[in-house]
């Protein structure tokens, strides 16, 4: 088991490094522009550009800079550990930018994840239990709509209808908790709902399929043969066994959203990590992009480990293997 964990950990680190490297490759010195221009003013001179290149290590081949980056990440820089360097955009420390943005994303993802886990599983269970009834059809029709409708469209439409026309919620933009929990909630509820909708759809379909498959298992028949109530059969015996695969993708989905809720964050102007990365990507701000990419990749890695543990908790076969 320990050996397995160590191997997993090593592999995870390797994945993070490769992801970072690919990101680096794609974004380093985008043919589109020289990041040094940001610091060189309206009328740059060759000399000032050269100076800035030196400052940002842009005069070195990309693998050298990648080396710098990995080194700083590993041993820390003047901002402490992990060293993520300074944004090419405004020379603010990427670490502090990420710390600034992270709560927004975490609130967004946590809220949405709660919604989609509850509703996704509930709808899936309902649909499976009421299989081939109109409830099932409506639920699965809704789920199909959920996976078909793009977040940016739902976001814009919901802002227009719910906020602009009906005035039921706050508009776009992030309101920190310190401005009052009511204002915060009123601004978060739409992004939560819209982001969650896609996942509710996915989870409902997944839960339904898993549960139907589980309900076809022999041990479910055993449970019924014991004379257990249908409720016990479905929730205690059926759902328990269906949850393991859901736990797996739940962990991964959350992790990927750490830097991946780009569209939701931009539609609702949340300006979390996804927005930071997107903004970095279109302004050639490599350190910001990398900072967020590292966060996401690390979140994926950590979540994978967490999922393993949860799996062991959920499934004794894994635990005792």
């Amino acid at each position: 088991m320990l050996l397995y964990l160590a191997r997993r950990l090593l592999w995870t680190i390797l994945v993070v490094l490769v992801v970072m490297f690919v990101t680096f490759l794609v974004f380093f010195k985008l043919p589109n522009g020289d990041p040094a221009l940001r610091f060189a003013g309206k009328s740059p001179t060759t000399a000032s550009l050269a100076e800035i290149h030196k400052r940002l290590h842009l005069d070195k081949p990309f693998y050298v800079e990648y080396g710098y980056f990995v080194k700083n990440f590993a041993v820390g820089d003047d901002q402490g550990w992990p060293g993520l360097g300074y944004s090419y955009g405004n020379y603010v420390s990427v670490r502090s930018e990420i710390l600034e943005r992270a709560p927004r994303t975490l609130f967004l993802v946590a809220g949405a994840a709660t919604l989609w886990l509850i509703f996704g599983v509930a709808i899936g269970v309902l649909s499976a239990v009421k299989r081939r009834t109109w409830i099932d059809r409506v639920a699965m029709g809704f789920a199909l709509f959920g996976i078909s409708a793009p977040v940016f469209w739902l976001g814009l439409m919901s802002l227009f209808v719910v906020w602009k026309k009906l005035g039921l919620t706050g508009g776009s933009g992030y309101v920190p908790l310190s401005d009052g929990i009511g204002a915060w909630f009123s601004h978060m509820i739409l992004p939560w709902t819209v982001l969650a909708l896609l996942y509710i759809a996915i989870y409902a379909r997944l839960t339904r399929n898993n549960l139907l498959e589980t309900l076809g298992e022999d041990y479910i028949r055993t449970a019924r043969a014991k004379g257990l109530s249908e409720r016990t059969v479905i929730f205690k015996h059926g759902l328990r066994a269906s949850l393991s695969p859901i736990a797996t993708i739940f962990g991964l989905d959350i992790a990927l959203l750490v830097g991946g809720a780009i569209i939701t964050e931009s539609v609702f102007n949340i300006q979390g990590l996804g927005w930071l990365a997107f903004n970095g990507a279109i302004t050639q701000d490599l350190p910001s992009v990398l900072g967020v990419v590292i966060c996401t990749a690390t979140a994926v890695a950590v979540m994978n480990l967490v999922v393993d543990v949860v799996y062991a908790f959920l499934d004794p076969r894994v635990r005792y293997a």
């Binding site: 022999d218 055993t222 014991k226 004379g227 257990l228 499934d315």
Partner: protein, 342 residues
């Protein structure tokens, strides 16, 4: 051995089960009738897909009535189980009628401890505390021959061997001293050495608890050892039904002959084992006529026109075949019984 009010322990009358599937209607069981009394074993034999398991599930009330049309009567101590509400049926299931299944590997929930799964069965029908239920589970595990039962009760199913799991299943089925125990191919998935032990255990349970056992199997050997009556099924129909001795010594139906011929026996060389040609029929939109007709060596014109009725024969057993009694007796005497006894 009559049950309460003179009625049999379990009497199935004219049972038919039809499944509506995406691809059409499946006629899984047709016009099946039989009875079972306390302390006796009814062996139900037939190939895969002959409707044995469906029949047992129908008795247990485990078929989803939304997809299965069930007609006929299943009388348990005179009460028609098919007319009970789901809640009433649940009270019977696992208490008066219990069942053990073919694959003990798949029939225990992999994520709960064996003991607690049995305890759960205890608490399903009696309002006792968890510890009492657990104690009962250990007691039964011990009774079915699990060594060190108190400790093993805390194991998960995957830590049990196949035979132990089947023992656990039997223990689970016995928690409420049921009147009927249905065993659906209880030994098929087990090692040969374990098979005998399980068969023996079921037989012992039958005697100790005075239950009526419905033993579903395609192993005629097991039936020969334990059953008092035998029901031969094919294509969802009863082909032959009667006392065990009658079936084994004066089988009347060509399909029963086929089964007997294909039965491996310790005293017989393997090279003369004769399989039945062809494969079982599709129950999806079955053709008219005797279901065995396409594979029957003795078929004649009448066989594909309509289905033969089950007819009472001398010697107290029933048979459905258009062949004349004389012809059947002649065939049995001259060929089949000879081959079997070789």
């Amino acid at each position: 051995m009559a049950g309460v009010g003179g009625s049999s322990l379990l009497e199935v009358r004219d049972l038919s089960v039809r499944f509506r599937t995406r691809d059409g209607v499946v006629q899984a069981v047709s016009n099946l009738s039989f009875t079972l009394e306390r302390g006796e074993t009814l062996g139900v034999v037939g190939e895969s897909g002959s409707g044995k398991s469906v029949t047992s599930l129908a008795i247990m009330g485990l078929l989803n009535r939304n997809f299965a049309d069930i007609t006929g009567e299943i009388l348990f101590e005179g009460r028609d189980l098919l007319k009970l509400s789901p809640a009433e049926l649940r009270k019977v299931r696992g208490k008066d009628v219990s069942m053990i299944f073919q694959d003990p590997f798949a029939c225990l929930h992999p994520m709960y401890r064996v003991g607690s799964q049995i305890a759960e069965a205890v608490r399903a029908h009696s309002d006792v505390s968890k510890s009492v239920a657990q104690a009962r589970a250990v007691e039964l595990l011990d009774a079915v021959g699990i060594p060190n039962a108190a400790v093993r009760a805390r194991d998960y199913p995957h830590q049990f061997s196949g035979g132990m799991r089947q023992r656990a299943m039997i223990a689970m089925a016995l928690v409420h001293n049921p009147a009927v125990l249905i065993a659906d191919e209880p030994t098929t998935a087990l090692d040969v050495t374990v098979q005998a032990q399980i068969v023996e255990l079921i037989d012992k349970v039958k005697r100790d608890f005075n239950v009526g056992v419905m033993l579903i199997t395609h192993d005629l050997g097991v039936v020969a050892e334990t059953a008092s009556h035998v029901l031969v099924m094919y294509g969802g129909r009863a082909m032959e039904y009667g006392p065990s001795y009658e079936i084994f010594h004066a089988a009347q139906h060509p399909y029963a002959w086929g089964l007997l011929e294909s039965m491996p026996r310790v005293d017989r060389k393997l090279d003369v084992l004769i399989p039945i040609e062809g494969s079982p029929p599709s129950l999806l939109n079955p053709p008219p006529g005797c279901p065995f007709n396409p594979r029957c060596k003795y078929r004649f014109d009448a066989c594909d026109k309509q289905s033969p009725k089950l007819v009472q024969l001398p010697g107290g057993h029933l048979d459905s075949c258009f062949l004349s009694t004389e012809r059947k007796q002649a065939e049995w005497r001259d060929k089949v019984s000879e081959e079997i006894s070789q």
